[in-house]
């Protein structure tokens, strides 16, 4: 098959390679074949190869995907050509590697780190897996930080300050975490023009998330809670 791969930085171009087809071949297998056999200067990022680490996401035929778990058959359907580019909405460093600093900085800006009040001398917090709060946390907790949602989001493309689906989803899972004590501060951090209220509910993040998370649902929850806090005057 013919594989067109993005080469260079933001102002690069596509380079075509001929790669043999195999059964159960993934997009990451194809990129690895190019780098190991055809052109060792190709830059790309991967680590676990089993869909856990979130480092191998790329744009495959125009759609952001985790390449280690995307079969070629699924990505190209009946054609014999595939186009592989770096993730969108992030600066390209070289070839298929993007600079993900802004993506993770926004997690920090959304106050995406847990803060509890218990110390190591306290007993474990008991949270029932069946509790309504915990169920909502469970719905969004499996994010691997691959950047597929961020790359697929129109609002990120239009508003560079927008925190993006992953950071907002993270904030939502912490707000629903009964052990966390920074809820109000976090609601403030994810409100307004750069936060959840800019989401247009296009749901590209939900459609593309490889872990089947719905950041849109979390963002809707944030909108609701923040609006109530603003109306009550507690925001």
């Amino acid at each position: 098959m013919t594989v067109r791969v993005w080469r260079g930085g933001a102002a690069g171009s596509f380079q075509a390679f001929e790669v043999p087809r195999h059964a159960s071949q993934t997009v990451l297998d194809v990129v690895t074949h190019i780098q190991r056999v055809l052109d060792p200067t190709l830059a790309y990022r991967f680590a676990c190869r089993v869909g856990m680490c979130g480092s191998c996401a790329m744009t495959v035929n125009g759609v952001a995907r985790w390449t280690c778990r995307t079969h070629i058959d699924k990505a190209i359907k009946n054609k014999n050509e595939i186009t592989i580019e770096p993730l969108r909405n992030l600066p390209v460093i070289r070839d298929l590697v993007t600079d993900m600093r802004e993506f993770f900085d926004k997690w920090a800006r959304a106050k995406g780190s847990f803060e509890g009040k218990r110390t190591r001398r306290d007993d474990f917090a008991l949270i029932s897996p069946a509790s309504e709060y915990r169920k909502q946390v469970d719905a969004g907790i499996e994010c691997i930080g691959c950047g597929v949602c961020y790359s697929s989001c129109d609002v990120v493309a239009w508003n560079p300050e927008y925190l993006g689906p992953a950071a907002l989803n993270r904030a939502w899972t912490l707000i629903k975490d009964e052990r966390d004590i920074k809820s109000m501060e976090r609601l403030r951090a994810v409100s307004g023009d750069a936060g959840c209220h800019s989401c247009h509910t296009h749901m590209s993040c939900t459609e593309r998330c490889p872990k089947q998370i719905s950041p849109t649902a979390g963002i809707a929850g944030l909108k609701r809670e923040i609006s109530l806090a603003a109306l009550r005057g507690t925001l």
Binding site: V155, W158, R188, S191, S198, S227, L231
Partner: protein
């Protein structure tokens, strides 16, 4: 602008959209019903003038537009043209005043 103010703008945008959905429906239904057999401006005015209920309804309609349009344009200007900041807010405030003035002028003209 504070986070609370930004959030309240969002709430106002949604609330005014709900009001507009109802107002547009009533407006169109009344319009279609009223002109079935053809209607002149004089006939319209003879029915509308002095009606307190219609005056109140269309005043609400105008209010919803005054709230809804500038907030929506604020997002459009920010996202499509990258225009953000105090000047944008000031221009949109002036637009709100213009909408309120021209909308209410029409309401007074037709219903008083």
């Amino acid at each position: 602008m504070s986070f609370r103010a930004q959030t309240l703008l969002w709430v106002a945008q949604r609330a005014s959209a709900a009001v507009l959905a109802l107002c547009v429906l009533v407006h169109l239904a009344t319009l279609i019903y009223a002109v079935r057999g053809g209607l002149t401006a004089a006939e319209i005015l003879s029915r509308t003038q002095g009606s307190a209920a219609w005056f109140a309804f269309y005043s609400l309609f105008v209010l919803a537009i005054v709230v809804h349009v500038p907030i929506g344009l604020r997002a459009v200007l920010g996202e499509w043209l990258g225009w953000r900041g105090a000047i944008r807010e000031a221009v949109l405030f002036l637009l709100a005043l213009f909408l309120a003035f021209s909308g209410m002028k029409a309401v007074f003209g037709v219903f008083l």
